[in-house]
Amino acid sequence: MSPRQWLGRIGLGFAGLVMVSPAILFFLWMASLSIKFEIDNAAYPPILIPDRFAWKNYSDVLASNHFLRFFLNSLWVTGTATGLALLVGVPAGYGIARMAAHRSAIVILIARITPGLSYLIPLFLLFQWLGLLGTLWPQIIIHLVVTVPIVIWIMIGYFETTPLELEQAALIDGATSWQVFRHVALPIARPGIAVAFILAVIFSWNNFVFGIVLAGRETRTLPVAVYNMISYDQLSWGPLAAAALIVTLPVLLLTVFAQRQIVAGLTAGAVKGG
């Protein structure tokens, strides 16, 4: 490589660094806030790396037994809503792709452009009437509004790209359409299912608006729990930042380790829930 090309590469690398700096600096500052004592958080000029670390912020958040409760709530709501969405959404994506029923995707589009609050009003009344408020079921059911469209949308796109020859061969051999789906189409679609699963998990985990209305004291998910911390300790930034980091850490790790799948899913469907 010539010196000119080297310079060009260095310049590009530098430009790339500038481009990602808002993200890097933000998360660095978030981490910094979370490991500082209040006195360091209130210092001027601000301190990035303190002399003493307030690991207590983390242990306090984790030790409060409510936090474990909220973590399990989040896990249960996201896990069940994603599992149910895969159960109904993967076959649906297959059926729609094979029937080439592209008009049915309009329903998915409607779900995509509807504000989450619009579902909340009627479903809130319904859950109240059914006496389900106070349990986790209202949140699980309403999270389906987020997860089912994501799964169906991604699976339609995926099944459209999988080869038909194998399925036709199996049909000629007398397999039923269910057998074809179960033993031919499904194994090939595993990467697509992984993409649908990851995105459904992320957008369900991150969801906030459903929780603030439907969650009671015992049924809060983590985003709601963290939001409620603000009102109580307005000025304790350390524990608040620590809690915020703990809530979003699973998603950040997932993003780093499954970047390829996430990018594929986001560019294919460009979906976002809520």
């Binding site: 806030l33 959404g89 649906a92 504000p115 609050l117 009627p122 930042a241 979003t248 986001l266 560019t267």
Partner: protein, 310 residues
Amino acid sequence: MSTIAQPAVISTDVAPHRQLRPPSYWPFVIPALIVVLAVIILPWLFTIWMSLREWKVGSPTTFVGLANYLRLASDPRFGEAAFHTLVYTALSVLLPLLLGTLAAILFHARMPWRGLLRGIFILPMLATPVAIALVWTMMFHPQLGILNYLLSLVGLPAQLWVFHPATVIPSLVLVETWQWTPLVMLIVLGGLASIPAEPYESAELDGANAWQVFRYITLPLITPFLFIAAMIRMIDAVKSFDVIFAITQGGPGTASETINLYLYSVAFSYYDIGYASAIAVVFFALIVALAAALLHLRQRLQWNEIGGAA
């Protein structure tokens, strides 16, 4: 096994003459159809029905026709919220579109650690919105926030950010831009990847400079992707809720109250269900109208291109 093997033999005999009848795929769709009906379609129908009634939680309801919609037309707070929504949306489409395109062009080039940098770049859009909103709130703090310290480093006066009616919406747009520029980048990056190499090669032969290459080759070819990005960004910005709610709750006063925030207050602070339903219906119609306008614009631009070429 023999029962399966037998039809196979027959079908190889007649296959050339007979079209294989495609199986019915409806059973695969039915479970999802039931779920979609239950959590998406029925709530919508219920919402439209409720919007025609006077309905406050805890009191009997009565049919009032279009009264809720008429009330909406003369509600100054709704008009104000609609204006905030439009300003917020316009800025939250334009800024990410601009920066995202720039980032995509950069990430399209062969740079060292491209994968890692791209992974970091998309973190903001996937991080839990409430968690990042909390940290932004601390950064916006007029006395202790890092942003005012950064401003002081470059000699700019301290700002009140989200604590002043005049700067609250631009400050929230800053968060929204930080959060959603990555999505635009990914969509445009997909567009750049789909451009063939030939036009660039011939441009190089013709001695075109970098700006000309961008203006006359890259830009026209990624325009469809820019439209998709603009459309998605528009839909998401209009219904943005988490960040605004967590940082300002529509304040100070109602200076950052968008339609979505107002809808929340009417439904779950005032429990005025009938009126809230009417707002939800109008809000949805507004989103569809904006999307349709953008589609229309795209079609007209395409016609102009054809007209210009002819």
